[in-house]
């Protein structure tokens, strides 16, 4: 888990000058931070869209290109891949402002400076690392369950049993809430009140002082509500 895998980056840029500059910046970043990239290059939007298999972590995409522009290419990519981080490269701010439509919340303006580029790239890499699948071993009645952290909706404590509400069903196990909280706290879990440890990623909304998790209303205690909301705010602005 600690060793980081090679990060797959695609450059989609029709002007060779900029493409080379980006490559240069990426190599500089690799040596500075000791990270390994595997860089693919496409000279037009249709190049990356054709045969796209969600193989990249980050895509650096020019907005204006001849055959298929960056926005359309991003739309096509989003149909298959909701995870990849798209950073637009543009000389027109007005085009990138609509990046939210394809969940591209970051862009860099041409002419590109290494400083601005590396800062935003750093953010993107953080997000890639965050998204790495993490598994948890849970003691349940009759054995041990291996489950992806992102599949846990929330953990409920009922006396001495812990109830795991997950994507693959409800499991009961033994253990103390405190221990689970320690294990899951470093991911995006937060206590809503004494009885619930909630995965912030699955909070769909708030209603009457309750968090709505997969259609269920989980009460938030008065003392924790503000902290919970703040954690939720941080979660969403760090993930996206």
């Amino acid at each position: 888990m600690g060793e980081c895998a090679v990060i797959q980056i695609a450059i989609v840029e029709d002007e060779e000058l900029y493409a080379n500059q980006l490559k240069g910046f990426l190599h500089q970043y690799e040596t500075e931070k000791g990270i390994n990239f595997e860089i693919s290059y496409f000279s037009d939007g249709d190049g990356i869209v054709y045969n796209y298999r969600s193989q990249y972590d980050i895509i650096l995409m020019d907005v204006q290109m001849k055959f298929m522009d960056g926005m359309s290419a991003a739309e096509e990519i989003r149909k298959v891949d909701s995870q990849v981080i798209i950073i637009f490269i543009t000389n027109m701010r007005q085009y990138a402002i609509r990046g939210y439509a394809v969940e591209a919340l970051d862009y860099v303006v041409k002419p590109i400076t290494y400083f601005a580029f590396s800062e935003r790239l750093g953010r993107a890499i953080e997000k890639v690392k965050r998204r790495e699948q993490q598994n948890l071993l849970v003691n349940i009645r009759g054995g041990i369950l291996r489950i992806a952290v992102s599949d846990i909706f929330y953990v409920e404590s009922q006396g001495h049993t812990l109830v795991y509400h997950t994507a693959s069903g409800v499991f009961e196990g033994s253990g103390a809430m405190k221990e689970v909280e320690e294990k899951l706290g470093k991911y995006s879990f937060f206590r809503g009140n004494k009885g619930y440890l909630i995965n912030l990623a699955h909070v769909d909304g708030l209603q009457d002082g309750c968090a709505i998790v997969r259609g269920e209303k989980l009460g938030l205690s008065r003392s924790r509500k503000n902290q919970f909301m703040e954690a939720l705010t941080n979660y969403w602005s760090e993930v996206k």
Binding site: Q94, D204, T233, N234, S237
Partner: protein
Amino acid sequence: MVNELPDIPRLYTAIAEWAGCMMFIILLKPRYKVWKMAGISVIALILQALFLILTGELPLQMWVPCMMTAIGMMVLFLRISIVGSWSDAVYCGLQAFIIAEFAAAVQWQCYCYYYYGNTSLLRKCWALLWIYGLIYGVFWKLWTLPKLSDRMLHVRPGELAAVILIAMSVFAISNINFLPVQTLLTSTDGPAAASIRTITDFGGVAMVYAYFVQRCEIRARRELDVMQSVLQNQYLQYQQSKESIALINYKYHDLKHQIAVLRAEDDPQKRREFLDQMEDEIRQYEMQNKTGNKVVDTILTSKSVICEKAGITMNCVADGSLLDFMDTMDICSILGNALDNAIECEKKIEDSEKRLIHMAIFSQKNFVILRFENYFEGTLDMQDGIPVTTKSKKKEFHGFGIRSIRYTVNKYEGAVSITQRDNWFELKVLIPRNTAKD
């Protein structure tokens, strides 16, 4: 003197004074952690008691300087223990002193009336405990009634003078009976003198309390006023830039027409290329942001003009239509203040390459998220979730931008979070979508 009444034991006075100080320390923002505070308090109690007991035998003319020193020690104790200026400490110290005078006077009178003559130690302690307990309990309830916004007083010179005046007159009138002089206001009768003292002290407490309550109310009202004016300010700015941006757009369209006409007139290839290029260049200056919400567009445009001037790169990805359910004023307050904050911060950065602001408005599930990031070097010093700025001159307006954002976001039952990540200052706002006011 006909009817002699023993003087209040010095130890009792010391305890009363110490308890008065403790009341304010608990009420206000303490400077240190609980254990350290407990240690300081114990030392303060011992010192106060020792000082008063040791000076108890001094001749009468030394009495006033000794009292002054006792008050000075209380002020020092408060200054060490609570966050605030010397003025704050003096203000609290004098209040505590008057309260202590009253408590000690009442306690001693009760004791002499009910228990005197029966001098078992247990009874003495009991009398001390229940009377002080009752008095300080009631005062604690009273003093916690008015709301202090940040558990700080920020006493100003005029306010301090008022309390000094009250304290001095109360002190003078209540103690004049115990001087060996005959005046209009004095009585040589011991119990009567004690009663006068108690009543005067009671008046003093009432005055100090009334003043305290009034101060708190004025402060709260002023804070609200400033907040309103910050809100109003952003709104006015919005109105102004709306007009000027309309003008720019008008000019822009004018120019576009001119180019079109020019192009139609002549047709050498070179000229066309030149014109194309010109149009392209002009488009760079079309700083109009089209986010789907007119208010957001206007604010972004006006702020990006400021950024352009200051050499700040501001990038933004924003779905303005997400904010359609919010009031114009509220959008102005959140966006205007957040961006102003970021711009202020960026202006201080020397290297223009590092002057970066990133902003995003997007939605996730049933939430709207607004994220403002700006590059900065240094560390964030937070106080009550509000970063402490270096602008010391504008103390009155300190942190009001962010406070105004919080105030606005609270209306929509949202949350604000301010953090620092690497070299980025981040202000994030989350607003639930289903609270749209219909």
